[in-house]
Subunit: 167 residues, 2 copies
């Protein structure tokens, strides 16, 4: 039985940070992530969508392990004026819910099936990030369990749901 | 010689679309990607950052092969009022420049090195998306060649640069 989706996972150990309204010019992303790397902070996801044309600014979102949140905020407190950010927002009530499998991206219908499943459960999708082998949605922590269960069912996966939860 | 970054690639065959100001409630992402899947449109990247709190709206960005752009716009023309989008923006002058390697995400410094390299070359990073094995930046098509060259050098990769270009 060919399964385009091999597994589902939920990671509840991360916090999401957004650095808001930075100038959309070369060097800004570099300054931000160099400062974090200098403190040895490991970043999991980086999500940056397109810049706003009128203000020529953008937001840079990323996730870190919740245990690194305090250290991350210390770095950003010092850095935000330097890079021109208007604000730094934190959300530590997130869960990263992912479906994984080989060659998913070239199969229209897999992402939409994941999103439809979450929608049917009333789960709001806060952020989305994809790669060829993984589609990840950030949702409320409180929605993680039912999201996991729903995705296991729709993709015919009988694995131990609790084994796929991190954090 | 351990190389955390195994290769660099540039994909010039894609176009980026942004569906703007959609309501941040369950079902919106599902409607959008179901409509695309129904037309058999293959989506490569999906990037959705956090929603704007005041308006409770969000933007959903994604890329398709340039050859699917016309078909995609036909779908979106019909769909945009239905899902409440204010606008649909298209950018077909993008190149997706990626570094790939095993276990990059847990190594602080790799993303920042990529971003610093692009910054030093004066290349603006339009969008960012990451996974454990790949960090992708969308840049101007005109910046693809020098981005590729710069990244090959900084990550000590002597491969044939032209072999890593798609589209
Ligand atoms: C916003 C940020 O990514 C900027 N465009 C840069 O290149 O650094
Ligand atoms: C914006 C869109 O992703 C919405 N939050 C949804 O869940 O469908």
């Amino acid at each position: 039985l060919y399964r385009p989706v091999a597994g589902v996972a939920a990671d509840l150990s991360q916090a999401r940070i957004v650095v808001c309204d930075v100038p959309d010019k070369p060097g800004v992303a570099a300054s931000l992530f160099t400062a974090l790397a200098n403190e040895n902070i490991s970043v999991d996801m980086i999500i940056q969508s397109y810049a706003r044309k009128v203000s020529n600014t953008n937001d840079i979102a990323f996730t870190v392990d919740a245990s690194d949140l305090a250290k991350t905020m210390t770095v950003l407190d010092k850095l935000k004026n330097e890079i021109g950010a208007s604000d730094v927002k934190v959300d530590d009530e997130i869960a990263k819910v992912s479906i994984v499998g080989a060659g998913m991206i070239d199969r229209p219908g897999i992402a939409s099936t994941m999103f439809e499943t979450l929608a049917r459960l009333g789960v709001n999708i806060k952020m989305i990030s994809t790669s060829e082998i993984k589609i990840s949605c950030l949702v409320e922590k409180a929605d993680a369990q039912k999201s996991l269960k729903g995705l296991h069912t729709v993709f015919n996966l009988e694995s131990d749901i609790m084994a796929d939860v991190k954090g």
